[in-house]
Symmetry: C2
Subunit: 342 residues, 2 copies
DNA sequence: TCCGGTTATGAAATCGTTTCCAGTCGGGTT
DNA sequence: AACCCGACTGGAAACGATTTCATAACCGGA
């Protein structure tokens, strides 16, 4: 395949390069005849601009980037999609940047800044830990979505999230109300992950309020994939048949756990109750449908975009809490064995 | 945040720009002391290269791109991951480019070519239709993964896939062997999509061979999401209670269908049998586990990469067929009502 | 006829890198 | 002492676009 530059096009069309550039960018100050001639040549050659050169030269005024950590996470990529949609209502252009789970958002932010002059960021799938001070040092407006930045002390970061602690507490309350006192919690490593930590605390709040003890051994750290959850659950339940309910920190994990229980001959919800988290499609269509906490995607997206645009115009940081919703499914039932006992 | 260029770094370190460049790119011909001094300044400033400028200048020799159409499709993104892994064994560097379902791969290919000199492509989630002649016109080595390019006449395109027609036929054979004669097929729009068309033909082959009629009304076109499949199924089964088995063209679709049936009071597999396609995690962990056709991800990935590298070195186009595998699940059982009849 | 004011156009500078090329500086050979 | 060679280094020319600025052409009005 031939490789054309704007100069080739200019030569073929018998005009100057600047004219071609003007045509390509839809500038008004080109005569109709010239425009047509250039357009024809461009089409004929299948010419496309070299983005590298373009971006190098055009230091765009300011725009915002949504950084999604983990492209396989449906919950996050749906959210990003929604944000893009909301962003249409603002004059600031938004773009989405997917990065891998392993690599860090700060490099990506820096990159986006000096390649394209990104002036603000929405962080999805991020967490707040010691490394977050980098966000502060960058000094650019940021919004943490689904993460609470209220106590972080980062001056340039807003956040929007549900009250994870209260949500987890409500979930546990419901399990307790169903008579479950032997509950296992399946989550991620909560050290250095404020989100998991908050949910854990919520669950503990509930247990404490009801005077129920929690054996730390019943907190299971798992990968957030079906296979990971399944394997963790198989291993865990080998030696923990006393458990009658599982609070999982994502719908995917809940699904994996349910399958594992099923294979062990334990029915959900008859023998064991299981709850999920996030409110994904998966929870709705799994059999049994999974009781879950819906994080209002649309609202979080809308608020995140709004908050970032506010800050870009000089507004102060703010933390917004949106309402979560407990979505009943078919995976929680009264505890039989407990009833017998009691 | 300050914005640094390589020139700033050079000035601060008291060296020339070319030296900084050499350090940044790990060239050997820099004295250790200089290297250290430059590195220090770079770290201190948090300097990152401007990729635009870099790519603009460095016309890399040749490398290959994997174009994935649809970033939400787990099956495809897993495959891409696997390809990247296989590619490490070759000297050609590979990169992955995700594009949206709506937009076309040809623009992306052109873009990648003249921005980065991509010399070859693997197309994932593509299909072969009239627009594919663009692939031919580009004239660069391409590999269609999970799509058969054998009869396409595109001189520069190899392909690797399972025998979709035979696979679909086997699935239908198994359903028939279980006594199901009233089968519905849930798939995508097969006009202009060779993959769906091939699977459809396979299913028809089987029916024909067994002398079973197929009512074209029983081919249901659906979106390939849980919600889409669920809704299609709800709608379809309102008026089609005679159906005792569903052949779905993806695991996701199968899951949505199973849920819909369940809500209509039809048990899988007792009342209706359902089969999926692809062999994803989902199929394995759904309840009931879904009978499916496993497309050997690793092998397809490995062959695709191999084929592309072959072509890059001047080899001829080839079409490779890899073995599929029918993975039994828990979603197919003998047809009760049919048994009663027969 | 001359002039101010559009309108359309091209030449040239610029963006931040890489890389070629030429040059400096020691130190070992003749 | 003259020479060469190797290891380092810096200057400057690209890369392919955009954008500023200057110029040419044209038009209507005085």
């Amino acid at each position: 395949m031939e490789i054309y530059t704007i100069r080739d096009i200019a030569r073929k069309a018998g005009v100057g390069v600047s004219t071609v550039s003007r045509v390509l960018n839809g500038r008004p100050d080109v005569s109709e005849t010239t425009r047509k001639r250039v357009t024809e040549v461009v089409e004929a050659c299948g010419f496309v601009q070299n983005r590298n050169a373009r971006n190098l030269k055009t230091t765009k005024p300011v725009f915002a980037a949504i950084i999604v950590r983990g492209r396989r996470n449906m919950f996050l990529s749906d959210m990003a999609e929604e944000m893009l949609h909301c962003a249409q209502g603002y004059k600031t252009p938004f773009i989405v940047k997917y990065i891998d789970e392993e690599d860090d958002e700060f490099g990506a932010m820096r990159q986006l800044w000096n390649e394209k002059r990104a002036g603000g960021f929405i962080l999805l799938g991020s967490r707040i830990d010691e490394r977050s001070e980098i966000v502060a040092s960058l000094g650019m407006p940021c919004v943490f979505a689904t993460v609470d930045a209220a106590g972080s002390g980062i001056a340039n970061a807003s956040s929007v999230c549900i009250d994870d602690r209260a949500a987890a507490r409500e979930v546990m309350d419901r399990l307790l109300a169903n008579g479950h006192t032997n509950v296992a919690v399946f989550g991620g490593n909560s050290e250095g992950n404020d989100v998991f930590a908050r949910r854990y605390q919520g669950a503990m709040d509930s247990l404490r309020a009801h005077g129920v003890d929690f054996n730390p051994e019943h907190y299971v750290v798992t990968r957030f994939t079906l296979t990971g959850a399944y394997e963790s659950a198989r291993r865990f339940f080998e030696g923990h048949r006393e458990i009658t309910a599982v609070l999982a920190m994502s719908d995917t994990v809940a699904a994996g756990v349910i399958r594992a229980l099923w294979e062990l001959g334990l029915r959900v919800p008859q023998d064991v109750s299981v709850t999920g988290y996030d409110g994904t499609e998966m929870a709705k269509y799994f059999i049994p449908a999974i009781d879950t906490v819906r994080q209002p995607t649309k609202e979080i997206a809308r608020e995140s975009v709004k908050l970032l645009c506010e800050m870009l115009e000089g507004g102060e940081r703010r933390d917004v809490t949106v309402a979560y919703e407990y979505v009943p499914g078919e995976s929680v039932a009264a505890c039989r064995s407990c009833a017998r006992e009691g």
